[in-house]
Amino acid sequence: MSSDMAETATAAPTELPPPEGNAWRIVLRVLFGRPATIFATILVALFILIAIFAPVLAPYDPLQQSALDINQDPSSAHWLGTDQFGRDIISRLIYGSRNSMIFGLLSPTLSAIFGTALGVIAGYFGGWTDRVLSRVIDMLLAFPELLLAILIAAVLGGGFWNVVFVITVAFIPGFARVARAATLAVKEEPYVEAAIAVGVRTPVIILRHVVPNIFPSVLVLLTLWTASAIRLEASLSFLGLGTQPPNPSWGNIIRDGLNNLFGSPWPIVGAGVAITIAVLAFNLIGDAVRDELDPELAE
């Protein structure tokens, strides 16, 4: 949500010093550098494995209704009980992780690609292009992501690709702003001036010199916003604007749970804990990536 964003967006990124060591070493240091991040890495790995192997792990079909088994308490047959339609809650949670992981990883990546493209174009070319793009970016940045997403989803409705689109659009302005600022800094570098002087074509300069050098800034945002995207998808699904029932998503499991408050609290508790832990774990990794790649933003 915008709280995460506010923290990262207030400080305009300057040019980052290259981290030391080869790529693999950096990845290992980020993921296993501190006790808290080791814990987070294990959790994230678990969530991803659960999402991939959902059909193997889930004890029941998440859509299978059973009039005889409604609102059961947790038991050895149903670890978290059943909901008002007699569906097995733990199976729905396991399948629901798929939506969270897909949206959490796919949408911010798409936003990063489109947002970076816009930001680089604005920053590199300057002039009117920059003025118009920056103005639009600033206007969109004024909206908290959740609000922007709700307003777009209000018009488009739910469904898989609509949700991907909504979350992607909600994050584009943030990426564009950071990419623009980083491009402005990189553009002044001697190697870019040299490339211009010897007549390297503009697309080549952008792809070979600008993009690789602003990549760390973009990567920091990307990891920080994976958690935000997971929460955004959950919020939209909760509001009925995201993943549509009967397909399970952590957000709409809580929505179903609220309609069945007197039946069973377990769907709400289970899905809520899942969202909280997933967001927490991804946030911790995002913080670690930021501390590694962008020490100036670190506290």
Binding site: A6, I150, A154, S235, L239, L261, L284
Partner: protein, 311 residues
């Protein structure tokens, strides 16, 4: 000063225009014929024609756009397609609840968050600092609708200390109804404000004038509040503005959890019913809040930081 305020106001004009253009494009053009969408597949040709006429869909597109902008600027939102109630009446019924919720949540959030941040900064690296960090980590991670549902189950359903739903009548009853939803939203806000206060305060406490204040023997309280916190006000104001906006969007989900009237639940319910005039009004009102709150942040900036006025 007046000229600056005027310029900021003028700056907001293209933003409003841009937002209205986006709303118009997305509601009138993207989904195809709004009349068909609203009435569904079973509509007769007569019904379609009547609704088209009523919505002004027979005019050329540019004319529709200017009618739309003019209507929005006069706050003329038309009537609900579902029950024929003027949209303005619906908004007048619901808006006060959302504003009440946002204000109370902001109040609690600041009241908890700012002292927490000061306390964490004064004990940097020690237990209170770690505790505050843990609080904000968890506060960022818990979705507000989940926290709301938990509070609802524990304090309304089981302990029955608070009402389960509704907005309440009158001031005291309203306050009674708003407490749980407000605490829900305040949790994230206090986590955010706490973090922000800590960062901003530590930043200013490292400045030369703070060292000077200490050197001349000012008391610790005076250093923190007079020199530290006062200069940290600028980032805090921006943060507060941003967090009011996110509280406003969080209110949508929380209103749904507590089955509470408000602009958020009005919007969500109208989406489910494809009630176009209401959706349109809801979207425009939220966008309007975004523009106004940003404008207010800018103006507060001008008021509290003389340096900006000189630039």
């Amino acid at each position: 000063m007046l000229r600056l305020i005027g310029r900021r106001l003028l700056d907001a004009v293209p933003t409003v225009f841009f937002v209205l253009l986006l709303v118009f494009i997305s509601l009138r053009i993207l989904p195809g014929d709004p009349a068909e969408v609203a009435l569904g597949d079973t509509a007769t040709q007569d019904q379609l024609n009547t609704l088209r006429e009523q919505l002004g869909l027979n005019a050329p597109l540019w004319q529709q756009f200017f009618t739309f902008v003019w209507d929005m600027l006069r706050l003329n939102f038309g009537k609900s397609l579902i029950n024929g109630i003027p949209v303005n009446d619906l908004i007048a019924q619901n808006l006060p609840y959302t504003i009440e919720l946002t204000l109370v949540a902001t109040f609690i959030g600041v009241l908890v968050g700012v002292p927490m941040g000061v306390f964490a900064a004064r004990n940097r690296g020690r237990l209170p600092d770690s505790a505050a960090r843990l609080y904000s980590l968890v506060g960022y991670a818990i979705p507000d609708f989940y926290l709301g549902a938990l509070l609802l189950i524990v304090f309304a359903l089981n302990l029955q200390w608070f009402p389960i739903n509704g907005g309440g009548d009158g001031f005291l009853d309203g306050l009674y109804h708003v407490i749980l939803p407000a605490i829900t939203l305040a949790a994230l806000k206090s986590a955010f404000m706490g973090r922000l206060t800590r960062t901003a305060l530590l930043d200013t406490l490292g400045k030369d004038y703070v060292r000077t204040a200490r050197a001349k023997g000012a008391s610790e309280a005076r250093v923190i509040y007079r020199h530290g916190l006062r200069n940290a006000l600028l980032p805090l104001t921006t943060g507060l503005g941003l967090s009011i906006l996110s509280t406003l969007s969080g209110a949508v989900a929380v209103e749904l959890v507590f089955n509470r009237p408000g602009i958020g639940s009005l919007l969500i319910n109208s989406i489910a019913q494809r009630d176009y005039p209401v959706i349109q009004a809801g979207v425009v009102i939220f966008a309007f809040f975004v523009v106004v709150i940003n404008l207010v942040i800018d103006l507060v900036y001008l008021a509290i930081d003389p340096r900006i006025r000189v630039k």
